[in-house]
Protein backbone atom coordinates (compact mmCIF):
# COMPACT_ATOMS: atom_id res chain seq x y z
CA UNK A 1 0.00 0.00 0.00
CA UNK A 2 1.46 3.40 -0.90
CA UNK A 3 1.58 6.27 1.53
CA UNK A 4 -1.21 7.94 -0.45
CA UNK A 5 -3.38 4.85 -0.19
CA UNK A 6 -2.68 4.68 3.51
CA UNK A 7 -4.02 8.24 3.88
CA UNK A 8 -1.89 8.97 6.89
CA UNK A 9 -3.63 11.62 8.99
CA UNK A 10 -1.99 14.95 9.70
CA UNK A 11 -1.48 13.98 13.33
CA UNK A 12 0.80 11.21 12.16
CA UNK A 13 3.44 12.84 9.97
CA UNK A 14 5.74 11.05 7.56
CA UNK A 15 9.48 10.98 8.19
CA UNK A 16 12.50 9.28 6.67
CA UNK A 17 14.70 8.34 9.59
CA UNK A 18 17.51 5.87 9.01
CA UNK A 19 17.60 3.48 11.97
CA UNK A 20 20.81 1.66 11.05
CA UNK A 21 23.50 4.08 9.88
CA UNK A 22 26.36 5.51 11.87
CA UNK A 23 25.79 8.84 13.58
CA UNK A 24 27.99 10.96 15.83
CA UNK A 25 27.74 9.69 19.41
CA UNK A 26 24.42 10.72 21.02
CA UNK A 27 23.07 11.52 17.54
CA UNK A 28 20.38 8.86 17.70
CA UNK A 29 19.08 9.83 21.12
CA UNK A 30 19.10 13.58 20.48
CA UNK A 31 17.51 13.39 17.02
CA UNK A 32 14.90 11.00 18.37
CA UNK A 33 14.27 13.42 21.26
CA UNK A 34 13.44 16.11 18.68
CA UNK A 35 11.14 13.80 16.77
CA UNK A 36 9.35 12.91 19.99
CA UNK A 37 8.72 16.50 20.91
CA UNK A 38 7.42 17.31 17.42
CA UNK A 39 4.91 14.45 17.21
CA UNK A 40 3.75 11.44 19.27
CA UNK A 41 3.90 9.27 16.18
CA UNK A 42 5.24 9.01 12.63
CA UNK A 43 5.13 6.83 9.58
CA UNK A 44 8.83 6.18 8.86
CA UNK A 45 9.56 5.43 5.20
CA UNK A 46 12.92 3.77 5.96
CA UNK A 47 13.12 0.17 4.73
CA UNK A 48 9.68 -1.11 3.89
CA UNK A 49 8.06 1.46 6.15
CA UNK A 50 6.83 1.27 9.73
CA UNK A 51 5.10 3.33 12.40
CA UNK A 52 6.97 5.03 15.22
CA UNK A 53 5.50 5.80 18.63
CA UNK A 54 7.64 8.35 20.39
CA UNK A 55 6.31 8.94 23.90
CA UNK A 56 6.63 6.94 27.13
CA UNK A 57 2.91 6.34 27.67
CA UNK A 58 2.23 4.98 24.16
CA UNK A 59 5.46 2.97 24.00
CA UNK A 60 4.61 1.41 27.34
CA UNK A 61 1.03 0.74 26.29
CA UNK A 62 2.21 -1.05 23.16
CA UNK A 63 4.52 -3.24 25.24
CA UNK A 64 1.79 -4.00 27.77
CA UNK A 65 -0.75 -4.92 25.07
CA UNK A 66 1.10 -7.91 23.70
CA UNK A 67 -2.07 -9.41 22.24
CA UNK A 68 -2.32 -6.45 19.85
CA UNK A 69 1.36 -5.60 19.45
CA UNK A 70 2.78 -9.02 18.73
CA UNK A 71 6.36 -10.09 19.19
CA UNK A 72 6.18 -12.44 16.19
CA UNK A 73 8.51 -9.94 14.58
CA UNK A 74 10.57 -7.45 16.58
CA UNK A 75 12.96 -6.06 13.97
CA UNK A 76 11.01 -3.42 12.06
CA UNK A 77 13.03 -3.93 8.86
CA UNK A 78 12.46 -7.71 8.97
CA UNK A 79 8.69 -8.20 9.31
CA UNK A 80 8.70 -11.86 8.25
CA UNK A 81 11.70 -13.34 10.00
CA UNK A 82 13.08 -16.68 8.89
CA UNK A 83 14.38 -17.33 12.39
CA UNK A 84 12.33 -18.10 15.49
CA UNK A 85 13.94 -16.70 18.60
CA UNK A 86 12.38 -18.29 21.66
CA UNK A 87 10.96 -16.82 23.89
CA UNK A 88 11.55 -13.44 22.22
CA UNK A 89 9.32 -14.01 19.20
CA UNK A 90 6.48 -15.74 21.08
CA UNK A 91 3.34 -14.31 22.65
CA UNK A 92 0.75 -15.13 25.28
CA UNK A 93 0.70 -18.33 27.36
CA UNK A 94 3.45 -20.01 25.31
CA UNK A 95 5.73 -17.06 25.98
CA UNK A 96 4.98 -17.24 29.70
CA UNK A 97 5.77 -20.96 29.76
CA UNK A 98 9.12 -20.48 28.03
CA UNK A 99 9.99 -17.71 30.47
CA UNK A 100 9.15 -19.99 33.38
CA UNK A 101 11.60 -22.57 32.03
CA UNK A 102 14.37 -19.98 31.88
CA UNK A 103 13.65 -18.18 35.14
CA UNK A 104 15.78 -20.42 37.31
CA UNK A 105 18.89 -19.07 35.56
CA UNK A 106 17.87 -15.40 35.50
CA UNK A 107 15.92 -14.86 38.71
CA UNK A 108 17.24 -12.36 41.27
CA UNK A 109 18.35 -15.22 43.54
CA UNK A 110 20.18 -17.03 40.73
CA UNK A 111 21.93 -13.83 39.68
CA UNK A 112 22.87 -12.95 43.26
CA UNK A 113 24.59 -16.34 43.59
CA UNK A 114 26.83 -15.42 40.63
CA UNK A 115 28.05 -12.16 42.09
CA UNK A 116 31.47 -13.27 43.36
CA UNK A 117 32.27 -15.24 40.22
CA UNK A 118 31.23 -12.34 38.00
CA UNK A 119 33.29 -9.90 40.05
CA UNK A 120 36.18 -12.26 39.41
CA UNK A 121 35.65 -12.11 35.65
CA UNK A 122 35.57 -8.32 35.66
CA UNK A 123 38.89 -8.25 37.47
CA UNK A 124 40.34 -10.93 35.21
CA UNK A 125 39.65 -8.80 32.13
CA UNK A 126 41.03 -5.73 33.89
CA UNK A 127 44.17 -7.72 34.81
CA UNK A 128 44.69 -8.42 31.11
CA UNK A 129 44.58 -4.81 30.02
CA UNK A 130 45.57 -2.63 32.96
CA UNK A 131 49.31 -2.65 32.20
CA UNK A 132 48.84 -1.43 28.65
CA UNK A 133 47.59 1.91 29.93
CA UNK A 134 44.84 1.97 27.36
CA UNK A 135 42.08 -0.02 25.72
CA UNK A 136 39.23 0.27 23.26
CA UNK A 137 36.32 0.15 25.65
CA UNK A 138 33.73 -0.37 22.91
CA UNK A 139 35.16 -3.80 22.23
CA UNK A 140 37.74 -4.99 24.73
CA UNK A 141 36.41 -4.89 28.28
CA UNK A 142 32.82 -4.32 27.19
CA UNK A 143 32.74 -7.38 24.95
CA UNK A 144 34.94 -9.66 27.05
CA UNK A 145 33.51 -9.34 30.54
CA UNK A 146 29.84 -10.11 29.72
CA UNK A 147 30.86 -12.99 27.44
CA UNK A 148 32.95 -14.68 30.11
CA UNK A 149 30.22 -14.17 32.70
CA UNK A 150 27.60 -15.62 30.38
CA UNK A 151 29.62 -18.69 29.41
CA UNK A 152 30.34 -19.44 33.06
CA UNK A 153 26.67 -19.10 33.99
CA UNK A 154 25.63 -21.36 31.12
CA UNK A 155 28.22 -24.05 31.90
CA UNK A 156 30.12 -23.48 28.64
CA UNK A 157 33.93 -23.35 28.27
CA UNK A 158 35.73 -20.02 28.63
CA UNK A 159 37.95 -20.78 25.63
CA UNK A 160 34.89 -20.35 23.40
CA UNK A 161 34.60 -16.67 24.35
CA UNK A 162 36.43 -15.28 21.27
CA UNK A 163 34.08 -17.15 18.92
CA UNK A 164 31.02 -15.75 20.70
CA UNK A 165 32.38 -12.21 20.59
CA UNK A 166 33.00 -12.59 16.86
CA UNK A 167 29.59 -14.11 16.04
CA UNK A 168 27.63 -11.57 18.06
CA UNK A 169 29.52 -8.65 16.54
CA UNK A 170 28.81 -9.94 13.05
CA UNK A 171 25.09 -10.42 13.67
CA UNK A 172 24.51 -7.00 15.13
CA UNK A 173 26.54 -5.29 12.43
CA UNK A 174 23.79 -6.14 9.95
CA UNK A 175 20.67 -6.44 12.03
CA UNK A 176 18.88 -3.29 10.88
CA UNK A 177 20.14 -3.48 7.29
CA UNK A 178 17.04 -3.83 5.13
CA UNK A 179 18.96 -5.25 2.17
CA UNK A 180 21.68 -7.59 3.37
CA UNK A 181 21.51 -10.09 6.19
CA UNK A 182 24.14 -12.50 4.82
CA UNK A 183 26.77 -12.00 7.53
CA UNK A 184 24.06 -12.22 10.14
CA UNK A 185 22.79 -15.47 8.64
CA UNK A 186 26.27 -17.03 8.54
CA UNK A 187 26.97 -16.19 12.17
CA UNK A 188 23.54 -17.32 13.29
CA UNK A 189 24.26 -20.65 11.61
CA UNK A 190 27.61 -20.90 13.38
CA UNK A 191 25.89 -20.36 16.72
CA UNK A 192 23.30 -22.99 15.83
CA UNK A 193 25.99 -25.53 14.96
CA UNK A 194 27.85 -24.78 18.17
CA UNK A 195 24.77 -25.44 20.29
CA UNK A 196 23.76 -28.48 18.25
CA UNK A 197 27.09 -29.92 19.34
CA UNK A 198 26.54 -29.03 22.99
CA UNK A 199 23.00 -30.45 22.93
CA UNK A 200 24.19 -33.70 21.37
CA UNK A 201 26.85 -34.03 24.09
CA UNK A 202 24.49 -33.29 26.98
CA UNK A 203 21.92 -35.81 25.72
CA UNK A 204 24.54 -38.50 26.25
CA UNK A 205 26.44 -36.87 29.14
CA UNK A 206 23.97 -34.74 31.08
CA UNK A 207 25.46 -32.34 33.63
CA UNK A 208 24.02 -30.69 36.73
CA UNK A 209 20.92 -28.79 35.45
CA UNK A 210 21.60 -26.08 38.02
CA UNK A 211 24.97 -25.28 36.49
CA UNK A 212 24.60 -26.22 32.85
CA UNK A 213 21.89 -24.46 30.95
CA UNK A 214 21.65 -26.99 28.12
CA UNK A 215 21.25 -29.84 30.62
CA UNK A 216 18.54 -27.76 32.33
CA UNK A 217 16.73 -27.20 29.02
CA UNK A 218 16.94 -30.93 28.20
CA UNK A 219 15.40 -31.73 31.59
CA UNK A 220 12.62 -29.13 31.22
CA UNK A 221 9.07 -29.66 30.03
CA UNK A 222 6.93 -27.46 27.83
CA UNK A 223 3.27 -28.37 28.41
CA UNK A 224 4.39 -31.77 29.68
CA UNK A 225 6.67 -32.55 26.74
CA UNK A 226 10.43 -32.20 26.35
CA UNK A 227 11.56 -29.28 24.21
CA UNK A 228 12.20 -30.34 20.63
CA UNK A 229 15.58 -29.85 18.95
CA UNK A 230 14.48 -26.76 17.03
CA UNK A 231 13.16 -25.08 20.17
CA UNK A 232 16.36 -25.90 22.05
CA UNK A 233 18.46 -24.33 19.31
CA UNK A 234 16.20 -21.28 19.17
CA UNK A 235 16.39 -20.72 22.90
CA UNK A 236 20.17 -21.07 23.02
CA UNK A 237 20.59 -18.75 20.08
CA UNK A 238 18.50 -15.97 21.52
CA UNK A 239 20.27 -16.07 24.89
CA UNK A 240 23.47 -15.23 23.06
CA UNK A 241 21.87 -12.47 21.05
CA UNK A 242 19.96 -10.92 23.91
CA UNK A 243 22.69 -10.99 26.54
CA UNK A 244 26.01 -10.15 24.97
CA UNK A 245 25.74 -7.30 22.49
CA UNK A 246 23.38 -5.44 24.79
CA UNK A 247 25.89 -5.51 27.61
CA UNK A 248 28.72 -4.50 25.29
CA UNK A 249 26.78 -1.50 24.03
CA UNK A 250 25.58 -0.42 27.47
CA UNK A 251 29.07 -0.66 28.94
CA UNK A 252 30.37 1.40 26.04
CA UNK A 253 27.98 4.25 26.84
CA UNK A 254 28.65 3.87 30.58
CA UNK A 255 32.35 4.50 30.14
CA UNK A 256 31.74 7.16 27.51
CA UNK A 257 29.69 8.96 30.13
CA UNK A 258 32.22 8.72 32.92
CA UNK A 259 35.11 9.60 30.59
CA UNK A 260 33.35 12.76 29.44
CA UNK A 261 31.78 13.74 32.78
CA UNK A 262 34.61 13.81 35.32
CA UNK A 263 32.36 15.41 37.94
CA UNK A 264 30.07 12.36 37.87
CA UNK A 265 33.07 10.04 37.88
CA UNK A 266 34.45 11.83 40.94
CA UNK A 267 31.12 11.35 42.72
CA UNK A 268 31.21 7.59 42.27
CA UNK A 269 34.91 7.47 43.19
CA UNK A 270 34.14 9.34 46.41
CA UNK A 271 31.02 7.29 47.15
CA UNK A 272 30.73 3.93 45.35
CA UNK A 273 27.34 3.37 47.02
CA UNK A 274 26.02 5.76 44.35
CA UNK A 275 26.85 3.24 41.63
CA UNK A 276 23.58 1.22 41.62
CA UNK A 277 21.58 4.44 41.23
CA UNK A 278 24.01 5.63 38.57
CA UNK A 279 23.43 2.37 36.69
CA UNK A 280 19.70 3.18 36.54
CA UNK A 281 20.43 6.63 35.13
CA UNK A 282 22.89 5.13 32.59
CA UNK A 283 20.14 2.73 31.50
CA UNK A 284 17.64 5.58 31.19
CA UNK A 285 19.79 8.27 29.60
CA UNK A 286 21.62 5.94 27.22
CA UNK A 287 18.82 3.49 26.48
CA UNK A 288 20.12 1.32 23.64
CA UNK A 289 17.38 -1.12 22.68
CA UNK A 290 14.92 -0.33 19.88
CA UNK A 291 12.26 -3.07 19.75
CA UNK A 292 9.63 -3.43 17.10
CA UNK A 293 6.25 -5.08 17.19
CA UNK A 294 3.87 -6.37 14.53
CA UNK A 295 0.20 -5.50 14.65
CA UNK A 296 -2.10 -8.48 15.21
CA UNK A 297 -5.14 -6.37 14.30
CA UNK A 298 -6.06 -2.88 13.19
CA UNK A 299 -5.47 -0.49 16.09
CA UNK A 300 -5.53 3.25 16.52
CA UNK A 301 -3.01 4.81 18.87
CA UNK A 302 -1.54 8.35 19.06
CA UNK A 303 -3.76 9.36 16.14
CA UNK A 304 -2.37 6.66 13.84
CA UNK A 305 -4.59 4.12 12.10
CA UNK A 306 -2.26 1.14 12.30
CA UNK A 307 -3.23 -1.86 10.20
CA UNK A 308 -2.85 -5.56 10.88
CA UNK A 309 0.63 -6.91 9.98
CA UNK A 310 2.25 -3.48 9.90
CA UNK A 311 5.36 -2.92 12.00
CA UNK A 312 5.80 -0.32 14.70
CA UNK A 313 9.10 0.87 16.19
CA UNK A 314 9.09 1.44 19.95
CA UNK A 315 12.39 3.14 20.63
CA UNK A 316 13.10 2.77 24.35
CA UNK A 317 15.36 5.82 24.37
CA UNK A 318 12.47 8.04 23.32
CA UNK A 319 10.41 6.63 26.17
CA UNK A 320 13.20 6.86 28.72
CA UNK A 321 14.02 10.49 27.86
CA UNK A 322 10.41 11.71 27.73
CA UNK A 323 10.10 14.95 29.75
CA UNK A 324 6.43 14.13 30.38
CA UNK A 325 7.66 11.43 32.75
CA UNK A 326 11.21 12.43 33.69
CA UNK A 327 11.84 16.02 34.87
CA UNK A 328 14.94 17.42 33.13
CA UNK A 329 14.87 14.31 30.97
CA UNK A 330 17.79 15.50 28.85
CA UNK A 331 20.02 15.86 31.92
CA UNK A 332 22.03 13.01 33.39
CA UNK A 333 21.18 13.11 37.11
CA UNK A 334 23.37 10.53 38.85
CA UNK A 335 21.00 9.97 41.79
CA UNK A 336 17.73 10.66 39.97
CA UNK A 337 14.66 9.72 42.02
CA UNK A 338 11.54 8.13 40.51
CA UNK A 339 13.64 6.55 37.78
CA UNK A 340 10.92 4.36 36.32
CA UNK A 341 12.74 3.91 33.02
CA UNK A 342 11.76 1.25 30.51
CA UNK A 343 15.27 0.53 29.25
CA UNK A 344 14.43 -3.14 29.84
CA UNK A 345 11.12 -2.67 28.01
CA UNK A 346 7.75 -3.34 29.69
CA UNK A 347 5.00 -5.89 29.83
CA UNK A 348 5.50 -9.63 29.52
CA UNK A 349 8.68 -9.27 27.43
CA UNK A 350 10.42 -7.22 30.13
CA UNK A 351 14.04 -8.23 29.67
CA UNK A 352 14.63 -11.66 31.21
CA UNK A 353 18.25 -10.74 31.79
CA UNK A 354 17.58 -7.44 33.53
CA UNK A 355 18.75 -8.62 36.97
CA UNK A 356 21.94 -10.02 35.47
CA UNK A 357 22.47 -6.89 33.39
CA UNK A 358 22.13 -4.65 36.42
CA UNK A 359 24.60 -6.80 38.33
CA UNK A 360 27.13 -6.80 35.52
CA UNK A 361 26.88 -3.05 35.02
CA UNK A 362 27.25 -2.44 38.75
CA UNK A 363 30.21 -4.81 39.06
CA UNK A 364 31.89 -3.32 35.97
CA UNK A 365 31.67 0.22 37.33
CA UNK A 366 32.70 -0.80 40.85
CA UNK A 367 35.69 -2.93 39.92
CA UNK A 368 36.97 -0.77 37.07
CA UNK A 369 36.95 2.41 39.14
CA UNK A 370 38.69 0.74 42.07
CA UNK A 371 41.63 -0.04 39.79
CA UNK A 372 41.48 2.55 37.00
CA UNK A 373 39.78 5.58 38.57
CA UNK A 374 40.80 8.15 35.98
CA UNK A 375 40.80 7.88 32.21
CA UNK A 376 40.19 10.03 29.17
CA UNK A 377 39.09 9.45 25.61
CA UNK A 378 42.29 8.92 23.66
CA UNK A 379 41.51 9.95 20.11
CA UNK A 380 40.88 13.04 18.02
CA UNK A 381 38.62 11.03 15.71
CA UNK A 382 34.93 11.76 16.26
CA UNK A 383 33.20 9.13 18.38
CA UNK A 384 30.43 7.45 16.40
CA UNK A 385 27.58 5.08 17.13
CA UNK A 386 25.61 2.57 15.10
CA UNK A 387 21.89 1.93 15.04
CA UNK A 388 19.86 -1.20 15.62
CA UNK A 389 20.87 -1.74 19.19
CA UNK A 390 22.60 1.60 19.75
CA UNK A 391 26.30 1.19 20.39
CA UNK A 392 29.52 3.14 20.23
CA UNK A 393 31.74 1.83 17.43
CA UNK A 394 35.12 2.63 18.95
CA UNK A 395 36.01 4.18 22.31
CA UNK A 396 39.77 4.36 22.90
CA UNK A 397 40.52 5.18 26.53
CA UNK A 398 43.83 6.02 28.17
CA UNK A 399 44.39 5.87 31.90
CA UNK A 400 45.60 8.93 33.75
CA UNK A 401 47.73 9.06 36.93
CA UNK A 402 47.98 5.30 37.35
Amino acid sequence: MSIEEMSIPAECPVVEFDIAKNRPVMGYLTELDELREASPAYWNTYGQGFWMLTRFSDIREAHQKGDIFSSRSIIVTDPDPQYKWIPTLTDGPDHTKYRQILNSYFSPAAVKALEDVNRGFANQVIDELIDTGRCNMATEFAGEFPTRAFLSMAGLPQEDAPDFVKWVTAIFSQMMNPDDHSLQAASAMAIREYFAGVIADRRVNPRDPKKDIVSHLLASEFYGEPLDEESLLNICGVLILAGLDTMKCQLGYSFYHFATHPEDRQRILDDPSLIPGAVEEILRFYAIVTPGRKLNEDYEIAGCPMKKDQMVWLDLGQACRDPRVFPDADKFILDRPDNKHVAFAAGAHRCLGSHLARQELTIALEEWHKRIPNYVIDTDEPITEHGGQLGINSLPLRWVDL
Partner: protein
Protein backbone atom coordinates in the same frame (compact mmCIF):
# COMPACT_ATOMS: atom_id res chain seq x y z
CA UNK B 1 -1.37 4.51 53.86
CA UNK B 2 -2.80 1.69 51.77
CA UNK B 3 -1.22 0.59 48.51
CA UNK B 4 -2.16 -1.94 45.86
CA UNK B 5 0.08 -3.93 43.53
CA UNK B 6 -1.51 -4.90 40.22
CA UNK B 7 -1.04 -8.57 39.38
CA UNK B 8 -1.60 -8.05 35.66
CA UNK B 9 0.86 -5.16 35.38
CA UNK B 10 3.73 -6.59 37.46
CA UNK B 11 6.32 -7.91 35.02
CA UNK B 12 9.17 -8.46 37.47
CA UNK B 13 11.42 -5.44 37.01
CA UNK B 14 12.16 -5.74 40.72
CA UNK B 15 12.55 -2.07 41.57
CA UNK B 16 10.07 -2.31 44.43
CA UNK B 17 11.76 -5.11 46.35
CA UNK B 18 15.23 -3.66 45.71
CA UNK B 19 14.33 -0.15 46.87
CA UNK B 20 11.75 -0.98 49.57
CA UNK B 21 12.71 -4.44 50.84
CA UNK B 22 10.80 -4.03 54.11
CA UNK B 23 7.53 -3.77 52.18
CA UNK B 24 8.04 -5.88 49.05
CA UNK B 25 9.68 -9.23 48.44
CA UNK B 26 10.67 -11.07 45.32
CA UNK B 27 9.05 -14.40 44.56
CA UNK B 28 11.31 -17.09 43.13
CA UNK B 29 10.79 -15.85 39.57
CA UNK B 30 11.49 -12.22 40.39
CA UNK B 31 7.90 -10.95 40.47
CA UNK B 32 6.58 -8.92 43.39
CA UNK B 33 5.26 -11.37 46.02
CA UNK B 34 2.64 -8.79 46.99
CA UNK B 35 1.12 -8.53 43.51
CA UNK B 36 -2.64 -8.87 43.43
CA UNK B 37 -2.81 -7.59 47.02
CA UNK B 38 -3.63 -4.45 48.92
CA UNK B 39 -1.25 -3.63 51.77
CA UNK B 40 -1.35 -1.39 54.78
CA UNK B 41 1.97 0.44 54.91
CA UNK B 42 3.49 0.41 58.42
CA UNK B 43 4.20 3.77 60.09
CA UNK B 44 7.62 5.04 59.07
CA UNK B 45 7.47 3.12 55.77
CA UNK B 46 5.50 5.73 53.83
CA UNK B 47 8.61 7.16 52.15
CA UNK B 48 9.78 3.71 51.08
CA UNK B 49 6.34 2.95 49.68
CA UNK B 50 6.27 6.22 47.75
CA UNK B 51 9.74 5.48 46.38
CA UNK B 52 8.52 2.13 45.09
CA UNK B 53 5.47 3.74 43.48
CA UNK B 54 7.75 6.17 41.64
CA UNK B 55 10.21 3.49 40.59
CA UNK B 56 7.87 0.91 39.04
CA UNK B 57 8.13 1.21 35.26
CA UNK B 58 4.77 -0.51 34.76
CA UNK B 59 2.92 1.78 37.12
CA UNK B 60 1.83 -1.39 38.92
CA UNK B 61 1.85 0.10 42.44
CA UNK B 62 -0.78 2.63 43.39
CA UNK B 63 -1.55 4.54 46.57
CA UNK B 64 -5.19 3.97 47.44
Amino acid sequence: MRIAVSESLCSGHGRCYVLAPDIFQSDEDGFCSERGQELEVAPGQEEAATTAVGACPEGAITIL
